[in-house]
């Protein structure tokens, strides 16, 4: 059974969003996504300063099996990317909601957060997909 922390927001494409205390948001991939991908061996994350539109492919996570795009659930400017993943991509497998975060954004609009899925809605989505 996949972990789906109650305090986070989710996208249908299996990313999670955490609102930080300063209003910025942290983005990563869900437990379901990391488990489906298998052992990650490479993470390609966007450069700081890049402006992203909602739904834009912003990162690539590669497992031994395949490469997979990560889509930003909301629009914003990249203010930080997780440099640790360059040498330790397995952190996404080991702690996808913690040290395995991918990037932090200055959101273009706080309103977009309301359009994301709650933990409950994401859990239902996984169940509907047969997970």
């Amino acid at each position: 059974m996949s972990q789906v922390p109650a305090e986070l927001k989710y996208a249908k494409s299996h990313e999670w969003v955490r609102v930080l205390s300063d209003g910025r948001v942290e983005i990563g991939i869900t437990d379901h996504a990391q488990s489906a991908l298998g052992d990650l061996v490479f993470v390609d994350i966007p450069e700081v300063g890049r402006e992203l539109a909602a739904g834009e492919a912003c990162a690539v996570v590669e497992s031994v099996k395949a490469a997979s795009d990560v889509y930003t659930p909301i629009a914003g400017r990249v203010v930080e990317s997780n440099a640790e993943l360059a040498t330790a991509p397995e952190q996404v497998n080991q702690d996808c909601y913690g040290s395995g975060w991918l990037l932090r954004l200055e959101p273009a609009s706080a309103d977009e957060l309301a359009g994301l899925l709650s933990a409950e809605a994401y859990t239902e989505l996984l169940a509907a997909q047969g997970n």
Binding site: S35, A36, G38, D39, V41, F42, D44, V60, E62, V64, K65, A66, A67, A86, N93
Partner: protein
């Protein structure tokens, strides 16, 4: 509806993630596929390869039949139990399949073919037997399951499940030999670059055997680890590194084609001789990515503006901790190249295969770069 091996329920019980492979629902991993890879390099692992097809070919004309059917020469098989790796070609020299053929006796050879090609292979073999009017019986052994037990500790672990006399016979097998052990057929072959056995056994005995090997410390391993192990070992995967549109000479398999004796007329011979005479045959080589990233099939190989070919397979090497792959490139391709990965050119080296054998790195990066 995907086909299932006799071990399907066991894979689910063991928590495997299942994927489609050549029309079969097969385990890709049971947890970490990198850990499964290391288990095989360092100790022992077990794979379900029952999706592969065991074909028994029997009859007085069997040697003549295979001599014409296969690109390698079964005349090399004189000692009972001896195995030979070969391609089966079409008239254009394209690879219909790669297979292992075992010589059991003068009227009985056993062939193991790939899962995705099994139906086409059987149809091809039967059609050729009819066309050539050779009296052979071609039997698909669906009653048998097949397990690959691989790694430095694999042979001992499997042999412990055999009777005392069979145990001795199995452990005495030289590489690329097999023997009957009661109702089992045990062969010292594999697809990982490690020592080990491939075992063909009655389907009903597969599950207790798997559990007994698990209990003896042999790790369950999926097709994911099997792929990274074979890549490190420099072994081709049918459908990736060769197929019916490519001939063995441009697939790193010239060593498996027996052009001598010159009067052996096998299917595809004329096409291969013509290809060789025309020159300019592409070659299959190893590729090592120097930077960070992951090589994958179909990525293009460049040196400056010239495209020299493309990757046929690629992944991450758990043993070398970098990305490796195979590429089909023009004969004159330099060893320092660039690979186009999602629009970025990353530096890579062409290296001689294999990358890893028996747990150890076994290639050299030439210090003096030259056009080979």
């Amino acid at each position: 509806m995907a086909r299932k091996t006799v071990l399907h329920a066991l894979h689910l019980e063991l928590g495997a993630r299942m994927v489609d492979f050549g029309g079969w629902d097969m385990p890709v991993n049971y947890g970490s596929q990198i850990e499964e890879h290391h288990q095989v390099r360092r100790a022992a692992g077990i794979f379900d390869v029952s999706h592969m097809c065991v074909v028994d070919v029997r009859g007085e004309g069997v040697r003549t039949f295979l001599s014409r059917l296969l690109a390698n020469d079964v005349a090399k098989l004189r000692q009972p139990g001896k195995a030979l790796y070969s391609c089966m070609l079409n008239e254009a020299g394209g690879v219909l399949d790669d297979l292992i053929v075992y010589f059991l006796n003068d009227e009985w050879f056993r062939i193991v073919v790939n899962a995705g090609t099994r139906d086409a292979d059987l149809a091809w073999m039967r059609a050729r037997a009819e066309e050539w009017q050779v009296a052979v019986a071609i039997e698909e052994r669906i009653d048998l399951a097949m397990l690959a037990v691989q790694g430095p500790l694999a042979r001992e672990a499997l042999a412990d499940l055999l009777s005392e006399s069979d145990r001795g016979a199995a452990l005495a097998l030289k590489p690329f030999f097999g023997c009957e052990c009661g109702h089992w057929f045990v062969a010292r072959t594999g697809y990982t670059g490690e020592d080990g056995f491939e075992v063909m056994l009655p389907a009903a005995e597969a599950e207790p055997t798997w559990r007994a090997l698990n209990a003896a410390g042999v790790a369950s391993c999926g097709l994911g680890a099997r792929d990274t192990l074979r890549l490190e070992a420099g072994m081709n995967l049918y459908g990736n590194d060769m197929d019916a549109t490519r001939h063995p000479l441009e697939s790193g398999l010239a060593w498996t084609v027996a052009l001598e004796p010159a009067d052996r007329d096998f299917v595809g011979r004329a096409a291969l001789e013509a290809a060789r005479a025309s020159g300019g045959v592409a070659r299959l080589t190893g590729v090592l990515l120097e930077g960070r990233g992951v090589l994958r099939g179909h990525q293009k190989i460049f040196v400056q503006d010239r495209e020299y070919g493309e990757l046929t397979s690629g992944s991450y090497s758990p043993t070398l901790e970098c990305s490796i792959g195979f590429a089909r490139v023009a004969q004159d391709c330099p060893n320092r190249v660039e690979v186009d990965i999602r629009g970025k050119r990353l530096p890579a080296r062409l290296v001689k295969l294999p990358f890893v054998r028996q747990g150890k790195k076994c290639f050299e990066i030439p210090s003096e770069e030259s056009v080979s």
